[in-house]
């Protein structure tokens, strides 16, 4: 007993050291990146003149879903867009997305005899945001998304899978991009890039916007960007669109706006979503909203396997590294991921399940395919030993669960377990799937109006400045309906492009 306590202590120290080391590594990387940006900015404002200047109608910052959709729409509207991307390829969160677009009123729904009410969809979007989402933006989403999904099919050539009744609220809304062997989001980006190529729309890589250029009334007239040849000024006749995503990979902003343990989660998506939506727009007095809001979900950071299936199984219990139950297992996988960093100092836990769960082998295969370690044994004791968890504590946790189930007292456990249809943990082999909580995306950004124009602190549009996708603030708060992140990028990307086109046609900046 003494010995096992000692081993546990040593391991906890190792875990703590590992966390510290990893944290320091990341801190160093972020510090280095921040240093680089700092020097770029001072150069941008300093004496070195840009090496050239290029004129377009719409300048789009960031080659993600919102940016590439906007580029194609701008072209279709008869104006001249350019996409500036700081990385070597589209490297934002889209390529990590499963590729769902939540919609109502689509041709696909009509074909599959699915009837969805816009009002219900609106109400559900507002509900998951605790009524904090901007109602105007939410209404705009539900009014446009149906036609926008049709547009993705017709103009971009996106193929969607057959509608399924997932996720919450389990209606036929989620249009999943058929990604074949890659993520749906990865496929969506491939198709959008192909659509840009077909139209000869320039997508300039290694081109990082460092400063918005304004006239004397702070209307945005262009962008100064760092290219491989130095600084270049890009001039925009109609407007500049910020589609750079949020700040989930900017540690300094996470600490400033979110703070605490939730600002130190491993990333589920891109390492390059670093808050240009804030740094570029804040100097123009953009109204930054929902800055402390974000979404997180489960992952294994070392392999990026998604443990969602195990957490949603409805079977088994969740224990921390001390082998104790830590949460009501009946919570959604998102709620569990959100709670984990506050429940355990290591942000690590195990989903323990037995072979009563019919899909347990599929989950084990998923971990195996991704070379992601998990543990399996015929006994609970053996499982705990293999996972190097305190055996006694794990046995107490499993027996406690089984006894409570037998006596109909699961709700009296601490923490309570409120499974609607609980199953005993009595059929070997037993499995332990490790997981952590990871950051999906931030929701905060410059507030947009229903024209996708960024507004200032007085709620007036900043002329010539637009935002869409996760760069824009206002549409999401607390949580989001699965498929509305990509959906929002499409809706407001297209709206911004159309508004810029109108501006160009009128010859006057809106």
């Amino acid at each position: 007993m003494e010995d096992s306590k000692k081993i546990e202590d040593i391991r906890n120290i190792q875990v703590a050291q590992q966390i510290t080391r990893r944290g320091m590594m990341k801190a160093c990387i972020v510090a280095a990146a921040a240093g680089a940006v700092g020097s770029v900015s001072s150069t941008a404002q300093g004496a070195v003149p840009p090496t050239g200047s290029k004129d377009y109608d719409a300048i789009i910052l960031g080659a993600g879903t919102a940016g590439l959709v906007a580029a194609v729409e701008a072209y279709e509207q008869g104006i001249k867009p350019v996409v500036l991307e700081k990385m070597d390829l589209p490297a934002g969160n889209s390529i990590y997305a499963i590729g769902g677009v939540a919609a109502c009123g689509t041709r696909i729904q009509k074909q599959e005899s699915v009837t969805e009410s816009k009002d219900d969809f609106f109400a559900d979007m507002m509900k998951v945001s605790a009524d904090q989402a901007d109602p105007g933006l939410t209404r705009t989403y539900v009014e446009h998304i149906g036609k926008d999904v049709d547009w993705l099919q017709d103009t971009i050539g996106v193929k969607f899978r057959k509608l399924g009744n997932l996720p919450y609220p389990l209606l036929g809304r989620l249009h999943l991009v058929d990604g074949g062997s890659i993520t749906g989001g990865g496929m969506l980006i491939r198709l959008l890039l192909a659509a840009c190529k077909k139209r000869n729309i320039p997508v300039l890589y290694h081109t990082k916007a460092v400063e918005l250029i304004t006239d004397k009334k702070i209307a945005v007239t262009g962008v100064r960007a760092l290219t491989e040849d130095g600084l270049v000024d890009f001039k925009a006749c109609g407007g500049v669109m910020v589609t750079t995503g949020g700040f989930s990979a900017n540690r300094e902003m996470l600490c400033s706006y979110i703070g605490g343990v939730m600002s130190r989660l491993p990333l589920r998506g891109s390492s390059y979503v670093t808050g240009e939506n804030i740094t570029l727009t804040k100097p123009l007095f953009a109204k930054l909203v929902h800055m402390d809001q974000f979404h997180c979900g489960p992952l294994v950071s070392a392999t990026h396997v998604n443990p969602q299936g195990a957490l949603n199984s409805g079977y088994g219990i969740i224990v921390d590294l001390r082998g104790k139950r830590i949460i009501d297992e009946n919570n959604t996988y998102v709620a569990k991921a959100r709670a984990l960093p506050n429940l355990t100092p290591e942000n690590k836990a195990y989903q323990l399940v037995d072979s009563n769960w019919p899909a347990v082998k599929n989950m084990a295969d998923k971990y195996t395919d991704m070379n992601s370690p998990f543990f399996q044994d015929d006994t609970v004791e053996g499982l705990a030993k293999k996972a190097r968890l305190p055996v006694q504590a794990v046995v107490v946790a499993v027996n406690g669960y089984n006894d409570a189930l037998k006596n109909n007292k699961l709700k009296d456990l601490n923490p309570p377990c409120t499974y609607n249809d609980p199953h005993a943990m009595d059929k070997g082999p037993f499995y332990a799937f490790p997981f952590e909580s990871g950051m999906t995306t931030t929701f905060g950004g410059p507030k947009i109006n229903t024209n996708a124009q960024v507004v200032n602190l007085e709620d007036e549009p900043i002329k010539g400045l637009y935002a869409a996708g996760n760069a824009a603030g206002g549409l999401f708060f607390l949580d989001y309906l699965g498929g509305t992140q990509l959906g929002g990028a499409v809706v407001f990307g297209r709206i911004a492009a159309r508004h810029i086109a109108q501006t160009c046609k009128k010859g006057k900046r809106a």
Binding site: R11, Q14, V15, Q17, Q18, R21, R22, M25, D88, L89, P90, A91, I95, Y96, G179, S181, I182, T183, G185, G186, M187, I189, R190, L193, V300, S301, A302, T303, H304, K348, Y350, D369, M370, N371, S372, P373, F374, F375, A387, R388, A432, P434
Partner: protein
């Protein structure tokens, strides 16, 4: 170096441990030379300073990224058709040092690559 240290420290923690190995007999550029390919055939510059661009590689290998993707379609995952898009060849296939599998920045696939 720091990455290796990090991996080593990660592997201390049960359940989050993993290992991968990539083995090469000699570097990719050496093998090109052994096959009679001269430096300038890959490097456009007289005095090479930059890694060759993808188009240069594709002239001899596959003809297009799409074809490369087809050729390696049986591999899991297919390294030439991924959700991150068509990376420059030299991101993984280093000319003068051991290859680095870009996917394993996030994942831990067991691969052998030239």
């Amino acid at each position: 170096m720091t990455k290796k240290t990090l991996l080593a420290s990660v592997s201390l923690v049960a359940g989050f441990a993993l290992a991968t190995s990539v083995v090469a007999d000699n570097n990719l550029a050496d093998r090109h030379v052994q096959n009679g390919v001269e430096c300038a055939q890959c490097h456009v510059e007289k005095v090479p300073s930059k890694a060759p661009k993808m188009d240069r590689c594709l002239e001899c290998h596959g003809g297009s990224y799409e074809e490369l993707g087809k050729a390696s379609a049986a591999k899991k995952p297919n390294p030439h058709y991924t959700h991150v898009g068509d990376k420059e060849c030299t991101v993984c296939h280093k000319g003068h040092k051991e290859p680095e599998f870009f996917c394993n920045d996030c994942h831990k696939f067991k691969v052998q690559m030239p």
